[in-house]
């Protein structure tokens, strides 16, 4: 683990630790929902970071199409992949909150919930699309086109939901008469910073693993190509069926 990754890991752990401590020991219970509103400090940052991550994936995809550099494709893929994992957490924590607040795990006529599910399912199709294409270059190009199109859909979808009349889902940040108190804002911002750091850490971690794996493959190919030992089959012994 290089130094910056280690620093990022410690910063993430500290931010999430402080954030959760604020949630349970500092911020007061919300007047309407009481203790159940504590899920807000987990669910909302996760949702914002997941949606933001999809947009970041789209930006990397634009850079990939402009430059043809596979590094940007890897960044786009890992950003989307990490955001999908965050999306799973958003859907599960949201369902738990919905069950506690509304008595149901899911409300189908609520635009916020359904729109997030649509975005999530859209990105779930990224994997089969990507891996259905055997040629690596075409795979990266098509995946980038998908990431840009879907990434543009995210803010449009968000605006459409904000414009729609909400039935039960609260609009915490845009209410004219109040919203969050100072303590709630502080706790939310610390939790948000923690989730953002976690997303970044996981992206960096996975990119490092991918880069290392790529270097191992290069080394394997180089050893296989060594004419001094013809037919040694290093690649076949290490990773059958994946070499060359």
């Amino acid at each position: 683990m290089n130094l910056s990754l280690r620093v990022l890991a410690f910063a993430t752990a500290a931010l999430i630790g402080v954030g959760f401590a604020l949630v349970f020991f500092y911020v007061p219970n919300e007047a309407d929902q009481g203790f159940i509103q504590k899920i807000f400090y987990l669910h909302v940052p996760l949702a914002i970071i997941a949606l933001g991550g999809f947009i970041v994936g789209g930006i990397h995809a634009i850079r990939h199409l402009r430059s043809g550099d596979p590094v940007h494709d890897a960044r786009s893929y890992v950003s989307i992949h990490t955001s999908v994992i965050f999306g799973v957490a958003v859907l599960i924590t949201g369902a738990i909150w919905a069950k506690a607040s509304w008595g149901r795990w899911w409300v189908w006529d609520e635009p916020t919930l359904v729109s997030f599910l649509i975005v999530f399912l859209l990105y779930a199709t990224y994997y089969p699309l990507r891996y259905a294409i055997p040629d690596r270059e075409r795979q990266a190009r098509y995946a980038s086109v998908f990431a840009i199109t879907a990434g543009a859909f995210v803010p449009l979808n968000f605006m459409a939901v904000r414009a729609a009349q909400s039935l039960v889902h609260p609009r915490t940040f845009a209410t004219a008469d109040g919203g969050l108190t100072g303590e709630m804002w502080l706790t939310f911002l610390v939790c948000f910073a923690g989730m953002a750091a976690l997303w970044w850490l996981l992206v960096r971690f996975e990119l490092t693993a991918k880069r290392t794996s790529g270097q191992v493959s290069r080394l394997r190919r180089a050893l296989d190509a060594d004419p001094s030992l013809p037919g040694t089959g290093v690649a076949a012994r290490i990773a059958p069926g994946t070499s060359r």
Partner: protein, 69 residues
């Protein structure tokens, strides 16, 4: 608004849901870390094998033959 009309859950009932949400988050994180650890272990094994092979190639030919045998 339905939400505003909904009375707050008593702490003993709300606590279960809040705990469930935070536990799900931690579990997902642990699963992810576990998968990444498995991936890193595989890379480490591959590297070890490649290093062994590179070392065996660096040795003189007769010794290498012995290793290969």
């Amino acid at each position: 608004m339905l939400l505003a009309a909904t009375p707050a859950l008593p702490l003993d009932e709300a606590g279960k849901y809040v705990a469930a949400a935070y536990i799900v988050f931690v579990l997902l994180l642990l699963i992810y870390v576990g998968l990444m650890a498995a991936k890193l272990a595989r890379i480490s094994r591959d590297l070890e094998e490649l290093a062994d092979l590179a070392e065996s190639r660096a040795e003189p030919a007769p010794a290498r033959e012995e290793v290969r045998a």
